[in-house]
């Protein structure tokens, strides 16, 4: 019984959602009953129109003209990589190398602007397919003051980040959902590793590979070095994102909502 208040909140939420859904349904049925005038196709932005052309010539053969996939390649409108992409930031690095083992060729010659246009086209398509969802402002239910306290306190965000430094104006360029994704799971960064050999010699560099048996790195001179782990004294890995990973099981949803509410004030 002590859980009752939560339940009431949930029910309120349900009614709110139902209200939105019903309104949407009414609009749809009104549209369906309207005379044959077909609604104009969603106008794409100039970038999306450009992207449509590039997509058509470079990608549609495998992913289909509508990006919904074919037998050869997946539906990009359900692709986590596309969802997480913002203006080409995920697509760009991905297209550069492709995924040859899965038959996805590399497109190293695409200019960054072209990648951004493809990104705009794919996001426009996702919007067409998934219909109108709640605006991202619906995510802003948290308390910015509590978010600031979390930033400086329990979240220990201020250990590495600053509102006037790396995060200055972050909300001006990043939407709430992308912002949430960014702090929940930031894009991968190079990992540094230090290997101590039995002789006591230390080898440091950027981690290339690490499993139970092998560690491989590129050292400061750009040389690739690989070692069997049972012939090393120690392998110390410094993952710059470890703090973010460790937070995942620690967050309450309120922490996330509050933190977002705070971060969106950094305009």
């Amino acid at each position: 019984m002590k859980k009752q208040p939560e339940l009431i909140t949930s029910r309120k939420l349900l009614f709110a959602c139902l209200g939105i859904c019903m309104t949407a349904a009414l609009i749809r049925s009104a549209a369906a009953q309207a005379p044959a005038a077909t609604p104009p196709p969603t106008p794409y932005s100039a970038a999306a129109e450009q992207g449509k052309g590039i997509f058509s010539s470079s990608c549609s053969f495998c992913h289909g003209s509508q990006a919904t996939g074919t037998e050869q390649a997946p539906n990009l409108l359900r692709s986590p990589l596309v969802f997480q992409d913002h203006n080409g930031d995920s697509l760009g690095p991905f297209l550069k190398d492709g995924r040859p083992t899965l038959g996805m060729p590399a497109f190293p010659t695409l200019a960054p602007e072209q990648v951004q246009d493809i990104s705009a086209f794919l996001h426009a398509r996702i919007q067409e397919i998934r219909g109108t969802r709640l605006p991202e402002t619906a995510m802003l239910v948290g308390d910015p003051k509590a978010g600031l306290a979390y930033f400086n306190g329990a979240g220990k965000c201020s250990t590495c980040h600053s509102a006037t430094g790396d995060l200055a104006h972050i909300a001006a360029k990043t939407q709430p959902l992308a912002l949430t994704t960014l702090f929940l799971t930031p894009p991968a960064k190079p990992i540094q590793v230090t290997v101590v050999l039995p002789s006591g010699q230390t080898v440091s560099g950027q981690l290339e590979y690490l499993d139970e048996f092998t560690v491989a790195l590129v050292d400061a001179d750009g040389a690739y070095r690989t070692f069997p782990r049972d012939r090393t004294k120690s392998v110390d890995v410094v993952d710059p994102l470890i703090a973010h990973k460790k937070l995942l099981p620690m967050y309450t949803d309120k922490d996330i909502h509050d933190l977002l509410a705070y971060l969106v004030t950094l305009k």
Partner: protein, 540 residues
């Protein structure tokens, strides 16, 4: 021509008196899998435990490659072009020295001694979802295979020639099939899958003709038991819950055990209230295989809203629980919880959380079922949920080792942000580990990290009387672990991660260990000299 003594009445009923060529003796289904591996899981129990011990903890360091075989099926095949579909996910059957395995749209027979291909059957290209095929079933000299576009196909094991095909479901309604048919008596048990809002079922077919014997509907008829857990008949009539993995069977009790899929859509009413469990979705059920009638059901995720189906293998074994010898059933479930039941009655015995990150439930009810925390459903500001829909585990076969009393499962640490705002989607990449669970307490005894490099797939597991646990990590290493501690005893880098569950067999006095990585098979054995020194191949 090879004749075998026919001992049982059942054999006389089901097979001609004299067996010729590769023919499965039905009695083999009731023995531990040694020189024969007659079902997807090796036997009916789902334990994936082999009594073979020629390869054992003492000599595993000498384990070496016996043969390898790369599968070719032509660039024109749609399966070849499907990213997930072209991987070997099946566990082969082994009968009279011949291995039978599948990739979606394709069936092969292969010499178990050398890996040489004997025949290849290719199903015509089609527009179904080519996500996987988990293997064939066998009855006498006939094989049974599900095509992705939902035909049950019977092949002659001798040469792969097609005997007949029957349509189980229509691909135009977006059904797709990947299961390995299970043969129980004269029943071929199969079920299709579908991701849409549609009524789910399991069915049985006649092994001789393919004629339908019975259908069991996951979503009840209006007014039938279980229907009271749905908001209305219309929702129930398309409530989903496809049992998409092969179940297990207790011949003494004559019960077929399987896990059902998740209910759909995930935001179906009544929601978000605690009423409306959506039976029999996300449940472990016991069916009479002769009639398809439900005997008992236990739901592991009431009113699922996160795609936590309960398809995972219901492992059956006899063992002590709280001082009493019992007929048990255990499931390491996709929802992050471990369940132990009495398989005679379905009585609940134990529930524990094996993945500590799991946060979609707020408590366990009196019957051991997790109580969903509906604040963890998709909502406008969003909820951080573990596990994400890939699950805390998935179809990756678990294993039970009666010598340790531990259940082993490959699991994934995952997170997703469920929001109804915006168009993005956050999912952290799965971070894999092997977990060992003491069935008596449900406690995790040890874990072994496997890394996060294999996308949405990790290997299944196998235990043997040689005190070994076999599985693959996410990097491409095939591992032999100590089942008591999880410590790695041996490994081989296959260059690509393991995509199926290893199996093992005895042939000409030698034990082989067989595993697949993408489109290549790898068979391992200890050197001949080692094999001779270790005469008692059959273990205890």
């Amino acid at each position: 021509m090879k004749c075998r003594p026919i001992l049982s009445l059942a054999s006389l009923l089901f097979l001609p008196i004299c067996l010729s060529a590769q023919t499965l003796d039905p009695e083999a289904l009731h023995r531990p899998p040694t020189d024969t591996w007659p079902t997807y899981n090796g036997d009916y129990s789902g334990q994936r435990y082999s009594t073979l011990s020629q390869i054992n903890a003492a000599n595993v360091s000498s384990l070496g490659l016996a043969w390898t075989h790369h599968v070719e099926f032509g660039n024109e095949s749609y399966a070849q072009q499907a990213s997930e579909g072209r991987r070997i996910k099946s566990t082969p059957l082994l009968v009279d020295g011949v291995l039978y395995f599948t990739i979606t749209d394709n069936v092969w027979a292969m010499d178990a001694l050398t890996g040489r291909e004997l025949w290849h059957y290719a199903w015509p290209n089609n527009r179904a979802i080519h996500v996987a095929n988990r293997g064939v079933g066998m009855y006498g000299k006939w094989l049974y295979f599900m095509s992705p576009d939902n035909y049950l196909v019977s092949l002659n094991a001798k040469d792969g020639s097609e005997r007949w095909r029957v349509q189980v479901a229509d691909v135009k309604q977006d059904f797709f099939s990947a299961t390995s048919p299970l043969i129980i008596g004269n029943h071929v048990i199969v079920g299709p899958g579908n991701n849409d809002n549609i009524r789910a079922w399991l069915e049985s077919r006649d092994p001789e003709t393919g004629a339908l014997q019975w259908k069991w509907w996951v979503d009840p008829d209006p007014g039938a038991p279980g229907s009271e857990t749905w908001v209305d008949n219309a929702t129930m009539a398309k409530g989903g819950g496809f049992p998409w993995l092969t179940g297990t069977y207790d011949p003494e009790l004559n019960l077929y055990y399987l896990g059902t899929g998740n209910g759909v859509p995930t935001d179906r009413p009544p929601h978000p209230t605690p009423e409306g469990d959506s039976l029999y979705t996300a449940s472990i059920v016991a069916l009479n295989p002769d009639t398809g009638k439900l005997v008992w059901a236990y739901q592991v995720t009431p009113h699922d809203t996160h795609d936590y189906d309960a398809g995972q293998t219901p492992i059956i074994f006899d063992g002590e629980f709280q001082g009493k010898k019992r007929k048990l059933l255990a499931q390491v479930s996709r929802n992050g919880y471990f369940f132990l039941l009495d398989r005679v009655t379905g009585e609940h015995l134990l529930t524990t959380k094996y993945m500590p990150e799991t946060n979609w439930a707020k408590d366990i009810d009196a019957e051991g079922r997790p109580i969903p925390d509906y604040t963890k459903d998709a909502n406008p500001p969003g909820a951080l949920v573990s596990p994400y829909p890939i699950g805390a585990t998935n179809w990756w076969s678990p294993s039970y080792d009666p010598k340790t009393g531990l259940i082993y499962c490959n699991a994934a640490r995952t997170w997703a942000y469920f929001t109804t705002s915006g168009y993005g989607r956050f999912r952290s990449p799965p971070d894999y580990l092997t977990v060992a669970i003491d069935y008596k307490t449900g406690k995790v005894v040890w874990t072994h990290e496997l890394g996060d490099k294999s996308g949405v797939l990790i290997s299944g597991l196998l235990t043997t009387a040689g005190n070994l646990l076999f599985g693959g990590d996410s990097f491409g290493n095939f591992l032999a672990m100590d089942p008591a501690t999880g410590k790695t005893l041996w490994h081989a880098s296959l260059g690509q991660f393991v995509t199926n569950s290893a199996m093992t067999y005895e042939l000409n006095g030698r034990q082989y260990l067989l595993v697949a990585a993408n489109d290549t098979w790898f068979a391992f054995a200890v050197p001949e000299s080692e094999a001779k020194n270790n005469g008692h191949i059959k273990g205890h």
